[in-house]
Structures are given as structure tokens and as C-alpha cells.
Assembly symmetry: D3
């Protein structure tokens, strides 16, 4: 039997492409929104199906998340044999530790709720925290878009440097640098001796180099804009490129990046675009990547 | 030890009063909302506490629901000894059965998620479906505001008739009628013989009587407005009163009811008011009712 | 692989027919009863099978229920791949809410026990409470025999009225009325104004009409007998017909109904007959309905 | 707070005594039986209580077992803080292994169902299988009445021999022999060489001795009667005594034992008597033993 | 699809043979041991596989057990469709009851941990406690090597007697005696009247007979050596044979048995040999038995 | 009631001190080791106790881990009211992600097993992965010894630099630097452009400074030795100090560090010493830190 591809509201732009590659038709989804805001999603017939719910929980994140819980329940009760939640962008993944007492472990709470309502497997793409895998009682397949970004940057000049805008992005930067055969620099917050003021500190050689900042996601763009400004101030060439898996999650991000000197922005379509993109924003599609993962999982081959 | 009263964002208007009655101070809640819509609630120190989270999941329902999941996780991890979710208005309770194949059992999915993230007990008030109790693996205390509404209507004239606007409201109407010693009439959808057209049908005597329509909740007001119009058409006196536990959930409800002939609307503060109320809307407080339930649960006495 | 059809003691009259339609042989069941009342059921080889346990929990209800728990354990340990409990009559379904404090939610306790001992899916037929579906953590398929009853009543005269003997039966009555294109009347308990005495109240036109009372089940027949007497007193024609999914569960029911004026009783074989039926009792078989549901579930098609 | 003592229908003869020793009043239990056999038990107010349900699952075993499941659910939902099922006689404990393929592990199925409906601890008395403890996910306290039986037999003549009627009873016999300082003999089923016929075989010296057969339970009495006959045939003195924790579970047992030569039968009141006892049957009460265990568990002292 | 055969470190000597019989290649296992003793096992690609982990938890038992927990987690996360732990020797099975307060139920703790980390089925061979089956929430297939031992002893002289060295071994002895058509004798610990000293007591005729002592396992050999000495003292012929499923678990066992008069030792390869065997030790392989069980489980046929 | 302090075998050196501070006596622990390596731990009477099992799972890590699983089971069955596993050193915490397909998530498998056998809360000290908290379904209190190390280093000269020997240690280094008001440098693995060879790269100013390398644990000492050599090569003063929470886990570590130029080693007693320490190794005790945490948890105050 063929896999069943069912979109969540945040994944409608992905399922036609995925279904096409897999040679099936995407399953229908109807979501009614009541005047008081309650959602009533409805899936089609799924008895015995190997179901892949393609549902990034991007903004409006709480709507998308509750919808996903309802969809999981619906799939289970509709008789699906196995339900895999394909969540290319996983909201709340940044809440993977309690910075201060009294906070929630939001990432874990979300993952617990997904399982409680019926997710039997998860597929995520460059989650903010790699610990997502270990937080989950059900198996998690972690995909990465870094090779996709590398392909788009192939042929970048020799004087390019890959930059991690904070310590959390170092692994992605190392990976991208390795694929492109460029050196890596790191921006980190630091303190000057004897003071408690924190400043950005740049590690690695960037003078007269073209910088490619890489990160897993761009929300407001503030972290990346600060890094870009620091790079230029440190002598990097003024045309900064930014490459991220998850594109702008807020509409403000694009002007913020532009005014910080970013001249090229490379993202994927893991989340729907928040606005019309200007020409200096390039979007690469994760559809082939997701289709391939679903194909292998459905065929029970290793991802 | 005293109980710990913690609000959710939808319960802030309730906790001061509850805490005052119980002789404690409400615990602080801080909720940060990120630019991309993610919530980061933070509770205070709760170690060993018998915690009562007062958090109706009213509109914006999905925000409130996700916040409640996060709060439950936060309370558990902050070391609370026992966490009771006091949810006077329980969103998604209407989704208690699948009307057509492919739907979710939204009420059950919500209850499963509450439990997965740490609710050990639930307190609900006039939930749309009594089956909520049986859906839950953790104990549920079901409170009713009908006596409160009856008290507000005490002294109503002898020619009053209590009206259920549909079959689901019959039990509340019977209860209210019994307390006020008035007869009960019922509006129901029906078919005329040999046709598939549905119309409203009125059961019971209403001519020249003052009607009090009673229901568990008012969302858009459409069902009640239709009942009110039918009553007037059937000869009821034109000043219709409406009594409901859960007040208008959408801003449109008040003009809709007014134009259907409603002259008095009686609701509780189980949910925060959506707008400034006109003078013909009376709000009775469930604060004493909730405080009493929490007091008894904390003291381990039967509700 | 073909489905495995295994009877419980209460389903022995159903499995030959079901198996025949599905082109398989019913699996053997041996149940030893010890002198002290303990049951020792034994199923045959089931390794890897898609097993359908056909086991209504009709009287003796506690025997049948414990037997079903043991059978579920036996199937699981015998290596069944998937076990579906097909429980056309589900005992204890009426205990779906706590009428007074201190009671059990019997329906939920039963469903929890079924799951704990290994049921992975449930199939029920016209359960007393639709909330059964939402009480269960495992998927529930709810079948209805109303179309079967309607077929048996096809060609009923134009002056027929379908009657719900209490509010709980209104949905079935509406459904039957729609199929037969007859109007619907409702019997309900009510209070006369200012009094606490409850009486039966009849809603809808029945004078000179032939009444068909419809309900989900007949236990002692008392509720239906009272309705029948009320109908005749209200001028309905004296030959009352009764249609119910689950036939008499106690032997007294038949004389009780007869003396209340019932002239035709239509039931299904969802439970074994408690006694020899007189000629005015007709039994329609749910075997094709159950076989069809099993066929679709086994084929993983929507029911 | 004092412990709450709640009887099941099979424990009504025990709770007054237990409650008296503990200085409390037994809590009320009402059990309604519907005409179709469904039970509707109702407990009193239990909020926050440390509840001990005293409910042997003796014959009618399936009634008692379902009642216990319902009672557990009722206690949990009535707000009990902790529920301990005190089941002095645990039905289905003999089904602790599958003798042939296709059988249930009845003991495990029962224990799983008890836990699923809310038992947080179990107290059992001389269960047929010691493995009950390891089958249970919740803690089990295993009590023994052997010292009680030994006290009743104190002063037995020097020429007494304690006899285990099968291998399963050897541990109890050893324990009793040790307390009374008598030797132990064992009856076991055996085969004669080269044949497949099984016969009883007696191990140990019994000639001219007074035999005390000890076992955990007497159901039909057949096993013990066969042992008694073998003992007499082997030269034991003809007045055989039998001591068992759980008294006759079927009414036939007493004449069966009598005609096999038993002249004294010593049992406890762990289960209600099935019939009027003749004078040669002595009943010792386990009430002090159970009261003591409950006292220690409630006080959180080791049993 | 073919079954996937994956060894644990204790099962490496078994998997080639099993895989050969099943016509597959054993899957690779790499286990890295860090300098501080942590294990890092790694399995190959298992997506969708029906995986059989062949992993006796023999000495070093704690290493093997932790490795098995890690392997189960690895298989689950590697996407295995179903994971069966084939544990021919199950360590900690002797801890099936608490001899004194404060002990663990080691067998249950191990089984709980296996399930928590992902075992969906267990296959065990002559476990020390038959209760293992009822302790497990997941299905357990219990195999026995007794027929294999019987085959190796076929043709033993008519004057042979099968001996159980304690009560726990009686069932195996009965089974072996039946297959070989020899009588059975039993050694048991006993007390002499009026004393608390325990001694070994021999039940059954052994004079001038050749004794075959049978047990499930030989750890240090002490129990069996004591039995052998008793047999010879009681007149049995001096050449004692010992047959056990699980061969010596400690290196001392072989000299201990030899000096107690054992002249032939028959074991299986359920665990790897602890040392070079002298010529009087015969090892029969359980490989065909395990391969057969896996074949049947994979084919979903009854074992 | 006072808390119950119970040691595991790896925590015997801690419990006397902890118990002393809390004004209680440590509870006895007896662990029998069988000749074949099985452990049989036995705890004392714990009924109703709030139990703190102090049991680092340091080398021999698999012994300690299995012992802890058994101890948890023992505490639960001995009637403990609440069991908190205090695991100052948590073995397998480094296996928090799968570096390559086919590996286990060892940290998660261990945490799952702890919960399955009865841990209701965990207390850990500077775990290798902060994600431990989010991996656990039960609440985790994460303690840190960094302030303790800082206190021991108070008064270090102004020209000191705190060094993280890899990216994983940056957070601890930042914290220590902040407490001591010293700058921070970082060692990281890097690639030179166009090559795939990895080398150590030093970020921050160390020339003529005294270096304090900080890490969570020292296993073989190799990572830290490499960092120390790099520091000296980069011009740091030759007397390097090392501060780590968890002291050498292998005996080789001390000579390895010495020969890399380490002149002072500061560790805690979170694990028992593997060998006699030379004079340049200082051990600070975590006993007050653990006692304080237990005191607060027992008093239900926030840690």
C-alpha cells in the first residue's frame, strides 16, 4: 500500500509536491474554524493507512499545535495503522531547558502532548535542540537541510568564511564549512574581565572575507543582524549572506536583516512564507528531502 | 499547608477573589509572548504545594490551551505535590463525539493532553458534555452554576416558563425549573412528516408567559436567538430573559441576542468579559463557588 | 491472511454466520467452569492473527465480562497480532455518569479493564451511551441497527408515528422517523408547576396513529411499557409496535410488554434470546452487519 | 486521619471487627443489583481518605471481581487519596501459568484489571501462587494465616505429622511443621516406571501417626480427600485433621471431606461460610491479622 | 521479509547457526567499551525489520543486562518494526519473590526494564521461575531444553533413576523421567522432628541405580554436588550423571561437581562456556531450538 | 517525619555526612553478590518514608546501574511513600544523541529504566548533558558544583584565565569566570581551510596567564591533557590548574594529567576516589550541597 500524505494547515504548500514525488495524491484536509476560535479538522478515510501528517508548527504556533493534536486524534480514530508526524519546523523546540526555576520544559510538554494524542513517530528538520530526539518516547528521525543550503552556495568564492552567530550554531557552521571547504568563524557573547557587561566577541579570521552566516532558524532576525553588523565592523566584506533552514517567522525579520547589511538570504520552505519575498531572498524547497524521508520510512529503509 | 492558587492568563480575574476567600495570596504568573507567538509562562516556587491552576480555556482558545499545557509542565517540574487544573470553561467540550468519520474527538484529545503534561485532577463548571467525566483518566469534579443563576432569578413572577433551547439543555432547564418552581418548555429541531426540512418545534405551554431560556454557554448567540424568536412568535411575552453559565464568547453575541428580543441576560464570570457589558447584562461571580470547591478539595472533603 | 473469528460464550450464536460470510471457519473456544465458579477459557492457535472476539457482555453480565477479560489476555499471549473486541451489546454502558457522589463510572471502568487486558480496538452496536467512544483510549467503531429495524418496518402505514420513550432515545427515533418518513413524538418525565411530582408527558401528535416505540435496549421492559400505556391513553391506536436493537435482557420483559398493549416486538440477535419467543416477537439478525464491519476493519477500509 | 474501612460484598463479615479494632466505624456500602445483573455499588464520602477496600473475590467469583473493579473506580473518583485493595482470598490466583497454549494467565489478567481501575496497593492472604507479588506493578503485601492455624493446633500430640497434599503446599507444611515442631510428609503425583499412569505417592513416615493436612485453600475438597484416603491406607491413624486458610468454597466440600475420613477441619473466615458448619469444623478469624496489617500500612510501618 | 538476527555480546556464539538455519545473515553488532566501563553498542540498519535480539544475560550479568537495555533502545530508534528479546538464559530469574522484607523482586525489575527500553516480546529457555511469564506485560514464549537433554540420554540403562536436586526441579525431572520412561526421585531439605537443623532428605528408590540429576541451571554446582553425594551415600551407583539446560556459570563449578562424583555432565550452549571443557562434559546446542522458535514467531505460527 | 537516607554501593562515602547534617541516621544497605555476579541488595524498613537513594552510577558503571534498578524496586515494594534517586554522577549521560545511525540513546534508556523500576524524582549534579532534564518524565533537580569549585579557587591571581577544553564546557567556564571575575578562553576542534584534518584551536588570550581548565568530568583525562598542552604551547604559564565536578573515573587519568603539565587538580567527591590521591589533587565535598538539596526537597521548598 502507498503512504497516505495528509497536510496540516501549515503544510499545505508542501504536500502536493511530496505526493507527486511519491506517486500518490495528497489526502484531503478540511478545517472548520468556529466563531469562538475552536478548530474542527476532518481527515478522509485512513483505515489501515501508513499516514504521514505534514504539519510544521510555525506561527500562528498555538493554532498549529492544537490543530496537530486534533489531527493526530482524528487519524488514530479513523483507523490509521501507523501515524508519523512530519513536523519540519517544530515550535517550542527552544524551550529545551529551564533557564530559571518555574519555567516549563516547553519542548518536552509539546512532545508529550503529541504522543498522548497518537503520534507514533516524529520526523523533524534541523530542530533548534538536538535533544528533541532524547526527549521523545517515540522514535524521532532528524533531517538536516544543511546539504541543501550548501548546494545553493556551491561555487562561492575562495575568500568566503562561514560564520556561526552563536555557540548553538557551531555544529551547523562546521558542517557547512566542511561541505564548502571554507573556514569557520564564531560569534559569541562574552564578558570583559572584571565586568559583568556582555559583548559580542568574534573568533576566527574574517577581514576582507565574504561572510556566510548560518543558523537553524530566523525568527525576528535580531541575533543574525547583530552578528552581521559585528562582521562588517571587523572588516568583513560588506555583502553578507545568510543561510538558514527555517525562514523568517516574523514579518519584521526581512527589513531588520536588510538594514544590518544582509544582501542575500537563503532559506527553505519548511514554513510558509510570511510575506512576499524581495528578490534578494531565495527559497529552496525541502519537498524532495521530505519525500525521500517518507519514502524510506514507508519502505522501512533507514533514513 | 494552604493551597496554592495560580492563575492562567484566562483566570486572572478570578484568582484574587478566590485567594481572598481562602486567606492566601494568589501566586504570581508571568507569561512572556515571543514575537513568533510562542509563550513562555513562569510560575513561582511551588515545592510540595497543593496547586490549583485556575485557567479557563476560553478564547483565544488555542493560546489558552497551549498555555495550560505549559503551565502544567511547569508546576510539575517546579515540584508541586499535586496539581489540579481548575478549568471553569473547558474549550473543545462540544467535540465529544464524531458526527462524521474523520473527525477528532476534540474533548478527549484535550483531556489526554492535559493529563500527559501533568494534570492530576480536573475541576470543570457546567461542561458542554457531561461525558467529560468519563473521558478522563484522572478524577473530575463537575460543578454547576445553575443554583447561582436560580438565586439571581429568585422572585420571578408566577407566569414564568423555563425554556431549554435544544435537547442538550433540558437537564439544566429541569434543574432550574425545579429550583424556581416553574414549568419547563423545550425547543427542538424536528421534521414535518414526509419531508426532510427541519424546523424548530416548541414543546410546552408558553403563551402569555415570561420565558427564561437557559443554556450552558453562549457562543455566537444564534441558537438562543432562534429560540427567543420562536417563543415570541408562539405568544410568549416579548421580554425574554436568558441565563447561561458561560457568557458571550464572541463579541457579536450581544447584539444578536438583543435584536432577537432578549431583554435581560444573566451570565457568570467563568470567562473574562469580551467587551463592556450594556446595562441589561448581569454578571454573577463564580468566585465563591470555585473557592468553596478548592477549599473542600484541599481539605479533602467531598465537593 | 483471513481474519480470525473467535466467539465469547455470549457470541456463539453469531460466529458461524459471520465466519460463513467471511469465508472462514470460526475458531474454537473451550471454556471450562470450575466448581467454585472460576472460568478457564482456551482459544486455539492465533499467532500473527487479526483476531475478532465476538463477545456481547449480556446477562449473566459479570460472567461474560470476566470471561472477556480472560479471553483478551489469552489472545494476546497466544500471539495475536491485533485483537478487536466485537461487543455488540456492551454491559454497564448505562453507567456513564455518576448520578450521585460515591458511584462508579461503570462504563469507564469496564472499558479501562478491557484495554488493560489487551483490547486494541472495540466494535459496539447502539451502545446506551455514545460517550463510550470518547471514554476509550483505543479506537471504537460504533455501529447502528436502526437501518435494519427500519427495513423490517418498511411499508408501515402512513398514519404511523415513531415514539421515543425518553429523551435518551430521541436520536434513534429521529433517525428511524427519517428513514420511514414518519413524524416523531417524545415521551418525557416532567413536573407540573409548583409540585415535585414527576409524570410522563407526551410531546407530539399521536391520536389515532399507530405508534412505533424505538429504544436501544429492552431490559425489564418497564420504561417502554409505561410509554405504551401513555400512548394508548392519549388516543393512539391500541396496537403498539416496539423496535429495539438489544432484545429482552430479562425473561419478565415479554409478559410486561404484552400486558401494556404491545402487539409486535422487533429486536435483533445482538444478544442470545433469554427464552422461546412468542410469535409476535420478530428477531432480525445483526450477523451481516457485524460481518461487514469485520470485513472492512480487516481490509482496513473505513466502516 | 484514621483509615477508611470499606467492605466489598464478600467482606461484610470482616469489616465490623476490623473497624472496631482500629477504633473507627466501617464506611457504608450500598450495592444495587439491576434485574439484568448489573451491579451499581456506591461508597460514601472518601475525599482524601486512606481507603482499605476489604473485598475477597470468593464465589460468586465473577460477581465479586466485577464489583471490586467498580468499587476501585468509585473510590478513586470519590477522591480517595490512596486505595488499598485488601483481598484476603484472591480468586483466579491458580491461573498463574499457561498449562497449555491458548489459555489466559488469569491471575495476571485480574491483577492488571485491578490496577487499571485504581488499586494502588494489594494485601493478600496466603495466595495460591506466591508469584502474585511479582505479577503486580503495584506493591503487594502477602500475609499468612499459618501462625494462626498453628496456634489453633498448639498442643497437638507428639506423634503428629504435618502433610502437604501436593508439592504446592510443601512450603506451608514446612512452616506449620516448624511452628509445631512436627515432621512433614508430602503427597505427590508420580508415575510408576515405564508407565504413563499417575498415582499418588507418599513421602515421609506416617504409620500410626496423627496426620494434619495443610493447604492454602479448599475448593471442592477433592485433592485433600484423596490425600486423606492415601494417608489412612498408608497406616496413619484414622482421625485426620485438615487445616486450610481459605475454607470450603463449594458446599460439597464438607461431605466430601467427611467421607474421606476427615474428623476436624480448621479454616479461617477469609471468605464467608458457604453453609452452616457442622461441629467438627472450626473457624478462626483473620480479623485481627487484617486489622493489624491495615494499622501498620496506614501508620506506614512495615507489615 | 526475513527476520533480522542481531546478537548481544553473550549471544555471538549462537547467531551464526541460527541465521544459517533461517537462510539469512546475522546482522552486525559493534560494542565499544569506554575506559570507564560504559558500553556503546551499535546495530546496523533495521528499518521495518522483525528483529530478534539473541542476548543471554549470563555472567558478566550486569554488563550483559545493561547492554541489552541499550540494544533494545537502539533497535527501537533504528526503526525496527517489532523487537523480540531472545534471552535463552535470563539472569536474575531466581529473584522471583522476596525472601525477607526489603529485598527487590529482581526478576520483575529486570523484566520491567526490558519493556521500558523497548522489548515487545520475550523468548526464554527453561527460566528458573515459570512465573516470569506472568511477571511480564509483554508476551513471553517459554522454551524448554528438556527434550534435547532426553535425546542425549536416550538409551540409558533400565536401572536409571532421574533425580530432582530440590523441589524446584521436580517438574523438569518428571518431564525427563516421562520421556526416558525412568522413575523419579527427589532430594529435599527437611527438618528432623523437634529440631531446627535442616538436612537433605531423599525421596524415592535409588539403591544400585544409576542417577541422572536434572536441574535448570548450574551456577557454582554446590546444590548438585550435595545431591550427588547424598545419592552415592544412599547406595546409588557411583557414576552420577548431571543434565542441566544452563551450563556452568562460574568456573569453579566443574571441579566441584567432579569431586562430588559426577562422571558425566550434559549441558547446552545457552550461555557461552566459561572455560575449556574436560572430555566428560558434553554440550548440546540450542541453536536449532532457537532457530525453530524464531522461525515460527516470525511466520506467526504458534511455538 | 525525617527523610530516609539510603546509600547505593557507590554512595557509601556520602551518606554518613548527609545524614549527619540532616540529623538522622543513614539507613542500612546490605548487598550480597552471588558467585555468578548477580546482586541482591536489601534495604531496611521504609514504610511511608520519603526515601533518598544516594547512588552515583560511577565505575563499575553497569554494576552500579543494575544495583540502582534493584534498589528502586526494593524501596517501592518496601512501602516507601516517595523515592528520589540522588545520582550525583549519572553514568551514560554522554550518550544523549545518536552520533551515527544504529546507536542507542543511552542516557534516555537509563532514565527510562530508572523510572520503570520506581524512581519518582531525580537529583543530578552537573550532568554531562543538560538535556537529561528534558529526557525524564519525572522531575529532575539539576545541581551544580561550580560555585564550590569557585570557592576553592577564590583569591586566584588577576592574570588567571578560565579555559573551556571544548565547546560543551563553555557554559561552566562562563559561570566560573563570572564568579571569579576572570576572562574565558575556549579550545575547540577546527579544520584548516580546504583540508579535512582537525586540529585544536584556541580562542581568547592566554599568553603569560595562569590557566584554569574547567570541565564537568574527567574520565581518562585525555581531552584535558590535550588542552593543557595546547595552552602551554600558546604561551600560558606552565602551571595549569584543572577543576572538574566529577573526579577521575579511571586510574590512568592522574599520570596523564601530570605529564601534560597539570600542577593542581580540583575535584569533588561525587564519586569515590579510584586511587590514593597525590598531594596536588584536592577533593572538595559535595556532602553539604546534597544534604541541602535533600533538606529542601523533603521540606518541599524549592532547590
Amino acid at each position: 500500500m502507498k503512504p497516505f500524505i495528509v497536510p496540516g494547515s501549515g503544510g499545505r504548500h508542501l504536500v502536493e509536491g511530496i505526493a507527486g514525488i511519491l506517486g500518490v495524491r495528497a489526502r484531503p484536509l478540511a478545517v472548520e474554524t468556529f466563531p469562538d476560535g475552536e478548530l474542527r479538522p476532518r481527515v478522509g478515510a485512513l483505515h489501515g493507512g501508513d499516514v504521514y501528517l505534514v504539519a510544521p508548527t510555525c506561527p500562528p504556533v498555538n493554532e498549529r499545535l492544537v490543530e496537530l493534536l486534533l489531527l493526530l486524534d482524528a487519524c488514530r480514530r479513523a483507523g490509521a495503522d501507523r501515524v508519523t508526524a512530519v513536523v519540519p519546523y517544530l515550535g517550542y523546540a527552544r524551550q529545551d531547558r529551564r533557564a530559571v526555576a518555574g519555567e516549563a520544559l516547553g519542548a518536552r510538554a509539546v512532545i508529550d502532548a503529541l504522543r498522548a494524542t497518537g503520534a507514533q513517530r516524529l520526523v523533524v528538520l534541523d530542530p533548534h535542540s538536538r535533544a528533541v530526539e532524547a526527549m521523545s518516547a517515540v522514535p524521532v528521525e532528524t533531517l538536516t537541510a544543511v546539504p541543501l543550503l550548501a548546494a545553493a552556495l556551491a561555487g562561492s568564492p575562495e575568500d568566503t568564511v562561514v560564520v556561526a552567530p552563536d555557540l548553538g550554531a557551531v555544529k551547523s557552521a562546521e558542517r557547512l564549512g566542511e561541505l564548502l571547504r571554507h573556514p569557520v568563524a564564531v560569534v559569541r557573547k562574552t564578558r570583559t574581565s572584571g565586568s559583568s557587561v556582555r559583548a559580542l566577541d568574534l573568533v576566527g579570521e574574517v577581514r576582507d572575507r565574504r561572510a556566510v552566516i548560518v543558523d537553524d532558524m530566523i525568527s525576528t532576525g535580531a541575533t543574525i543582524a547583530a552578528a552581521a553588523e559585528l562582521l562588517v565592523a571587523a572588516g568583513a566584506r560588506p555583502e553578507v549572506t545568510v543561510a538558514a533552514t527555517h525562514g523568517p517567522l516574523t514579518a519584521d525579520a526581512i527589513p531588520v536583516l536588510r538594514s544590518a547589511g544582509v544582501r542575500r538570504l537563503l532559506v527553505t520552505d519548511s514554513v510558509p512564507a510570511v510575506a512576499e519575498h524581495p528578490s534578494w531572498v531565495e527559497v529552496r524547497s525541502v519537498v524532495p528531502l521530505l519525500a525521500d524521508a517518507i519514502h524510506l520510512l514507508h519502505r522501512n529503509t533507514s533514513v
